[in-house]
Symmetry: D2
Subunit: 421 residues, 4 copies
């Protein structure tokens, strides 16, 4: 895997741009125009919108701003495909993205090709300021690739016919998840991004943090463990939950991870992009909210790790390893064999941490409109670490900070237990 | 026109079935799979759903119940395409119809063909009870044809690109709407359907009503008159509105008919299936709610007619005349020349009446599940009469009772003023 | 009873004014300042607000407008105690009436005394126009007396301690409700108010209506019959309900009349102003919505009467008879002995009719602000007839039209079955 | 002031219990039964409820659990006056506390006296475990004293008559707020409670934290500075706000601190328990949400301090100093003279920090039902430090962690700016 990461890193910007764009196309390949148009909830966008928005990002911040004679495909599309950049003016309401049957998927794919051609042609003569935006655009599109998969899943999960978009590949699977713990000493550690490679603004500045001795479980919490939690009445005991978590459970009738259902024999099934399948007992649990993760940890007599604990433990591991997204297909968390140490820190499931998403000491957002990227979301959300089976390989870093609201669970989110030692 | 109606009536059931089915297909012809999939609001369904639901109606109540070896296309589709028949079991939530990217438009069209073939094959040997259901199914599909057009309009109106689905046909237009009144004597009149032709259950029983002398305006209220109402502050004066109407105006910021906007020169535009166009001053106003119609009438020193007044006045007019739906295209209300008497009683716009939709004396719903057709909606709605430019020609009758909630206005609804004399 | 009505009618205006004002005071007597301040729902107002609003009505429309040197108690109170008269300017939000801990109950009672003194002093020299407004104000206050009782009940029903405000008086009760029917011929009848006595504007003009032969049940539907309906699964069978009614049942978990609960032995109790008591089987059912009344009638193979049918049947009965409000106390519907004919047409429970509340032919609202009295509510509501145990005796007429939304049931509303014959 | 704190600490438990109970009574003294009953919002409780709930706390956790023959005043009251302890069973819905006109304020005051007598009698013989609960109960009641004042303010602010509950005391006021900054070195500091005095569970364990060099403003942000922010368009510029903050501003039309309004001359007024008064320019701004505090700090080129920064800076200051609650009256933040160093760290306004309310390393909730005290709220809230003008003097500590949701602002919440140095 390390060799693969190496290869990814040494590719030219043009090659990485082209590869990223191709992967997005491949992800959309099995979808009809209608599949790519519908929006299952305000928080999950249509595939077509993702395809167009990531293109708008390159068109706006690179081509419009840095390529002299470039003229936009359609001036009105900026209104449609701006996501949340107030600096770029008014925009179509997020919760009405699913109303855009026009432009069609075909038109959006043409738009992509047009922008790709213009960008590849301009690339050799772009100033550094602009190539940095291309780099940002690639990383931005990789984030949307993960969202494309999770939003697609959310859309198809609404369909009573439970369509399978991809076949499930044959694969060897472990019977049980590794059950050990790994201890870490306390003391001052540095966290946050450093060095010359790409990182999002919120990953810095690198700074020292003080840790207390702790352990992490070798592996994320498994589906088998989650079923134990259910069977033990975990969803019915308020003493395990925060007040807001309990209110959320009550108001929404929550009793299992998202996409789980019982078949007529009461066996747990989960819906995935490969259709309805029995739950893999040894695989990490996915599609649980922070509220659920926190309650599970309390039930287990443990806690969630802080993001600093997680990052310190992951610092020397290969962020390109594990079960991440290499090609279009029916991604899912997988069981892993024990290697004695931490497994699945990268890939499989994002791991909820105990840390609210807040600025690091000395954080300053990037200048200009792209500075709206992360800073304005630093309230009410929790940090997740490590990437998932839907994260494009090469996108991840130990310092990477993902964030979602504590009730959200349509991403591949799971957890790993931590303990004071 | 009367000749045309004659022709419609004398066609065989098979011919009328085939023609109705063909018109639905033609209406959907300009739509992409995505266009046909999206749902703009809980009350407006996707075109694909209309196409499938009208087919499910024939499949269920005729083929399943009356044709021995018929096997359903897909047993799970009944769950998707039942509208509101509690007697037919559980069904997909109405407000989530727009989530059904599968089956595709193509699959739904195949489903239509399959059911049409089976029905036409079975038709010669069906018992009367079943041919009556075919007749009901044709009328049912005609209703959905109108909804297809109005729901499409509602969907495209959400798109900031304001796409035109059909070109506007060339046509001669009058400059002003006829402005006279026609008086009617009071006394006992019979209303309600009678005779051997088809009618919905709610149109009967035919019964006497006592009318007081009244007049009706020759023509429906025009767009020009509506602009006067706007300019006179009609939307800002609570004394013109019912309490519920005023609350609706305030809560929704209502200041013009649905789909109206001002261009940069403050000229009123309206969005239609032919795109954004200047408002036709002489044409009947459309897309106004009962609340608006009632306020306008009060402002004009008049009132809405009761449904009995309307029906008595329309009894001798040709229900197949006027501007109704003959073929797929960009329907819209049109200006009419004065003929001295009432004009546009049929076609152009549904006319709100002062009558709540309630059962006629002696009303009994039809037996069985199809008996859920109308009776269960007899509360909280108002009667509209006369059909619109989107009503398939041949579907209308003087006794026809359409009904909507007083805040709804995505149909082609307008009004005609009445007065005591 | 007729003698009593006679007495009421012959009393002078001043006497009736004083008696009405005294009854309101008596109704509030058992309440603390806090009891009189709280508001259980947007539709039910605090007792203190009723006491002040009815006073504001006299102060505004009589004293301010017709008594030269009258100065208002506090100019700011108009903002607090205007109910819904847009013509009188802005006002405190209806749903925040329960926030007015000041002015206190004592201050409001002082305000009442001040206005009463001024009005009684001015009365002898008031012009007819103003004495008519005093008459209107008396009738207005009587309406609020009923609301005071029903709103009080609604407020105390929120209290888990189930406080009894009044002791229940001893009384003889029948064991069963009369079970016969009374038939009526069809033909042209006149309905609506006529003559010189007071009536609200919506009761006229008097006009002919055409009736078809019908019967009415001798007595309103009893609690015993309603328990049968519950036991027969009436609340769980969608085929008995209108679509809107069924949606209301589902959304609110409706399974019994308002204020009903089962004691530990599953015996039905009802909460009243005399506390929690077993349901009286022979008494008319109360606190049911139009939706419930309509579903019950369908279940019973009957229907609700139209308001014209009801009025024609009631025309010769004594509107001052029956179980109506004579003095402050724990009102409740009572069982009645059969007399061979219709019983309990007046008093006990308001009877839901099949008629939407709409204007009579030729209806014109009164001029000026008081013209907002009834006309602006003529949409979305149903007519109820006959008054209840909470209606002040002397207030009722055969032509009296009360109206509520079909889901509302905090009034003493019941029903009487009608049938075509 | 330090002498005063000394005195408070050396008082016996019985004396402090009695003094705390007396202060609650004094706070309620100017209120009528109705004043004490109404509830302005789900988050703000009636005074009567606070008076009863704090009593229920002693009755339940001390008398019921530790005093043998104690019998509860009314077994049903536990249902009414439990706040959120799931371990104590079902309870009255929080948002319906304003419906409890019974028991009356008088009955609640009797209940208080009864429990006080029983507790003072039992106190000498209570085991340590129980006296610790008395200590907790005193601190619990002090928290509710602050809520009583802020909830009262919230209730009276609903009244268009703007009643003044207390007269404003005469006092000397500064003209401008101190404008300097105080710098602090970084390094490892200990925070969290230590020692033998009382503290809430969430204040521990004491633990080392690593700080970076920083400065704090001498004084909290003043009203004058806030008016500058308003005038500079701070409430209309999305770039100053977090995404959630901006959404909150838009959805609620926020344009000034809570309780602020402009008089006819556009001069800012604020409503307080002493009525409507001009805003004190030199006093700390109060009644701003975290969203507003965060946006203001960004506008000022500064940031909010972390709670560790705040606590390290406050460690050596007198927590009993400053403008805190000594006696019932119209509390309000006050201007302070500069002393060269930090002013107003304790008292005047709670200061929003940049820290989410999360458990300290090694945090364990207390055993038993009282363990629900703080731990279950550790999500979605931000920490505030330092107490306010409504905090009973003697209740505060440098380690004290208050917490509210980022949109809440009915407390006396302000902010102090921090900067990296």
């Amino acid at each position: 895997m390390a060799a693969k990461a190496q290869a990814l890193e040494s590719a030219t910007l043009a090659e990485r741009f082209a590869a990223t764009r191709a992967l997005s196309r491949a992800l959309a390949a099995p979808l009809s125009d209608a599949d790519a148009t519908i929006q299952p909830s305000p928080e999950a966008s249509p595939t077509k919108w993702h395809l167009a928005h990531t293109t708008w990002f390159f068109e706006t911040f690179v081509l419009r701003d840095h390529v002299e004679r470039y003229s936009a495909r359609d001036a009105r599309w900026a209104y449609l495909f701006n996501s949340y950049y107030d600096g770029e003016g008014a925009r179509h309401a997020r919760e009405r993205r699913g109303m855009l049957s026009r432009p069609s998927l075909g038109e959006v794919l043409d738009y992509r090709a047009r922008v790709e051609d213009a960008l590849l042609e301009a690339l050799p003569s772009l100033p550094t300021e602009a190539t940095e935006l291309v780099e940002l655009g690639i990383n931005h599109e990789q984030q949307h690739q993960e969202l494309m998969l999770t939003d697609m899943l959310s859309a198809f999960a609404e369909n009573p016919l439970a369509p399978a978009i991809w076949q499930r590949g044959a694969r060897h699977e472990e019977e049980t998840a590794p059950g050990g713990r790994v201890g870490f000493a306390g003391g001052i550690h540095e966290i946050g991004h450093q060095g010359s490679g790409f990182a999002f603004d919120c990953e810095g500045p690198r700074h020292p943090v003080l840790l207390h001795p702790y352990s992490l479980d070798q592996a994320p919490v498994s589906n088998a463990a989650w079923i134990e939690f259910i069977d033990a009445g975990g969803y019915r005991d308020p003493s395990l939950w925060t007040a807001d978590g309990w209110a959320w459970v009550q108001a929404n009738g929550i009793a299992a991870p998202l996409y789980w259902s019982r078949d007529p024999d009461a066996v747990w099934q989960r819906f995935g992009l490969d259709g309805l399948r029995p739950v893999d007992r040894a695989a990490p649990v996915a599609h649980v909210s922070w509220y659920e993760a926190d309650a599970f940890a309390r039930w287990a007599g443990a806690r969630l790790p802080t993001e600093a604990e997680w990052e310190a433990a992951a610092a020397d591991l290969d962020p390109c390893g594990g079960n991440q997204l290499d090609a279009a297909g029916a991604v899912a968390p997988r069981a892993a064999a024990s290697t004695g140490g931490l497994v699945q820190m990268f890939g499989d499931v994002w791991e909820w941490t105990a840390s609210a998403f807040l600025p690091y000491p000395g954080f300053r957002p990037q200048e200009g409109t792209v500075g709206e990227y992360n800073g304005k979301f630093m309230v009410n959300q929790f940090v997740l670490r490590g990437g998932s089976c839907a994260t494009p390989r090469g996108h991840m870093r130990a310092s990477y900070r993902n964030f979602f609201y504590p009730h959200q669970r349509w991403q591949f989110c799971g957890l790993r237990l931590a303990r004071d030692v």
